[in-house]
Subunit: 431 residues, 2 copies
């Protein structure tokens, strides 16, 4: 595949032709992958893992060029860390592909079945979604992860790597395509957009004239916002992860401590990290000060309302903006609320429908929280950081979705399928 | 609600404000409906049915005005027939609402549950989609049907009637809103757009600033095409129903006769009606002439390829366009194909992924057809006209979807829900 570097407007039609051709190849490959037996897909994923290991020298060499270019361009150390591969990281990427291969096949599952009074037997069967477009930034592992997840669910993938990881992603994709061919599956089931031109993203978001069924953005807020505002096809994504922990009056203080600390501080940069702590006024006298002190001592900045400021001099004032902010950092907003209804109202007003947790020993209160908080994941007495496909037992995830359609929460291979109805008759006609 | 008649561009901002207010009221009502117990919704649907019967005089009077206006505007007799209500039709509308009330509650179902090694119990629970926008044309029953289906699934509905049925739809919606209020549910769970201005459709397709979760168009190709090309929110719809019957070599001729005749001629104007008959060359000598003669004698025009023209002088030539045409009339395109692969290739090339049927006594062949034809509904030895929510046992349907996301095939109350994850812990934190 030629590496294009189209930048001028005069060349844009070529880009769209090239992108459309990628879309058509993906659509054709999708049919082959959709009908592939489970065993063939699994062998292909094992072969891909071997090919990734075999291509270590080439992949690391291309990665070194990406890292060098990122340094020259003055990128942040955080980005360079995310971008850099070494033998251990590449081995982990290959192992993740094998693990996806070992998952149960999500295609062909009988999701429902019913017999009608006229003798018709109707089955609802899981089938692949089709062609999935994945747009990501600097993490090179996304090429392998996303490609493998799409393949496992019988879909073709069109992958668009960020400029910084372009060479690495191309090298990884070459190894994966070789593995597909070696297994007798169409190499075009995994394609990488061979240009850094940002117009390619626009083309993908248009759906490539019906050749892309869904878009999955993997990256920062800017990318996800662009995808949401421009996409003409469905999107699996979350814009924000403004996750809450509500410590209710009936909460065991020790449990509240461990759940709050883990929800906030285990990793602060993931979307399932808690950003706001709500404490019931009824237990504020006993629970608030220890929780605030614990957070401060763990190195977390605490911003609070007047009630929270009153318990500890190190608390700084929280403003309206804090309730709406995803810090992705060692900062937490803390508020005292008047019971369950106020907690739910706060979450519905300021939350992002991602993951919210209640700590309480009162079952009835927990039941109401789980019913009334309208988030993809609602949790009782556990950390918000369980918002993860691996932790849910899905083996891997392509992302977490906060939209309401089709996929919601961690998007594993099962949510990368749709269904069809198979109707079995013996000559029935409709009266 | 005031009836607006905004036509000039200067007044458009008012229209958008009005539409946005409708969206916000729907979003607020959706929360109330989503949390309503099953029994409350069912009582509301029974009360709505009573109110519809009680409002017979008003609804029929408004309908008479619509019919009169349609006549004056020179509308077709077919449209006027669809538009006209009488006491029997109104009674059927009320009975349909009661029937929807009697369906099992789709909200709160446990769709999946799994326990993790760390003791977390994770449930996937069906919850309402949110706010559903329904855009329809002249059939007055859609107001009641769509409103009732949305309500049953815990959603709020924003309904936009065609100009011709506007008064009737407003009268039906008034009765339904009265029934909601009487049952203690928010009347704004069923709103009708109070203007004939076509710009209101554009506003709905924009999603009303996040206040509409999905759009369902109910009407002709023009409406569905506009919705597909303009909608910025997900759409449940089908553009075409180019349904096929494939008569394979191993087909019993008598069964082929009854399935083909019913698929084409039971009702020619519905989306599940067959438009193309494919006959395997291996049985053409025995099966083709009787099937063609049967269709002609039933009053169906037959357009065929050279092989089909050869068996009956009454057959007219089929062109490439015929394979792509949804006649919705007593016309069928007939083609002789070289076996299963050619039949599947024809369907994948010219079909619309709606409903396709194979007649064969060969199980292996049927299995391949059901697996490889990529349509929402694939049928073995039965009529394509079973493509219907009622026939599937869904009680009622809001439409048939040929898209791949979320809902596919007949869209009943179950597909008007999404899901959330409820995670039950005992203090677990993520390592």
């Amino acid at each position: 595949m030629p590496v294009l570097n189209l930048r001028s407007e005069f060349q844009a039609p070529d880009l769209f032709e090239e992108m459309h051709a990628i879309g058509q190849r993906a659509r054709a490959a999708a049919r082959g992958i959709a009908l592939a037996p489970a065993q063939t897909k699994d062998i292909a994923l094992r072969t891909i893992a071997e090919r990734l290991r075999g291509a270590q020298a080439e992949i690391l060499a291309e990665n070194a060029l990406d890292v060098e270019a990122a340094r020259t361009a003055g990128q942040t150390q955080a980005l360079i860390d995310r971008l850099t591969l070494d033998p251990a990281r590449l081995a982990a990427i290959a192992a993740a592909v094998e693990k996806i291969g070992a998952l149960p096949d999500p295609v062909g599952r009988q999701v429902a079945a019913f017999e009608r009074p006229n003798g018709l037997l109707i089955e609802r069967i899981a089938v692949p979604l089709g062609v999935i477009g994945v747009i990501f930034e600097s993490r090179p592992n996304v090429t392998a992860d996303a490609g493998a997840l799409c393949l496992k669910a019988g879909n073709a993938a069109i992958l668009r790597a960020g400029s910084d990881s372009h060479r690495t992603a191309m090298a990884i994709a070459r190894a994966m395509r070789a593995g597909l061919e070696e297994s007798g599956l169409p190499a075009d089931a995994i394609q990488i957009v061979p240009t850094r031109d940002r117009a390619a993203v626009g083309a993908m978001l248009s759906g490539l004239q019906g050749c892309i069924d869904v878009i999955v953005p993997r990256g920062g807020r800017g990318l996800v916002e662009r995808v949401h505002s421009e996409a003409r096809v469905p999107v699996f994504a979350h814009l924000d992860g403004i996750c809450h922990v509500y410590v209710a009056a009936a909460a065991d203080l020790d449990m509240a401590r461990t759940v709050v600390l883990n929800s906030k501080m285990r990793r602060t940069g993931i979307c399932g990290a808690a950003e706001t702590l709500l404490v019931d006024r009824a237990c504020a006298a006993t629970h608030l000060a220890p929780l605030v002190a614990m957070l401060l001592e763990a190195g977390c900045a605490v911003r609070g309302d007047a009630d929270v400021q009153a318990v500890d001099a190190r608390v700084t004032p929280a403003t309206e903006t804090d309730w709406r902010t995803e810090y992705l950092d060692a900062i937490i907003a803390v508020r005292v609320v008047d019971g369950l209804d106020a907690a739910i109202a706060h979450i519905e007003t300021y939350g992002s429908h991602h993951t919210d947790s209640i700590v309480t020993a009162d079952r009835a209160e927990a039941t109401r929280f789980l019913a009334e908080v309208d988030s993809a994941i609602v949790v009782h007495n556990a950390s918000t950081q369980f918002a993860d496909g691996g932790e849910f037992g899905f083996g891997a995830e392509i992302g977490i979705a906060t939209g309401r359609m089709h996929a919601r929460g961690p998007v594993g291979v099962e949510q990368l399928t749709t269904f069809k109805y198979r109707v079995h008759g013996s000559g029935q006609t409709r009266p």
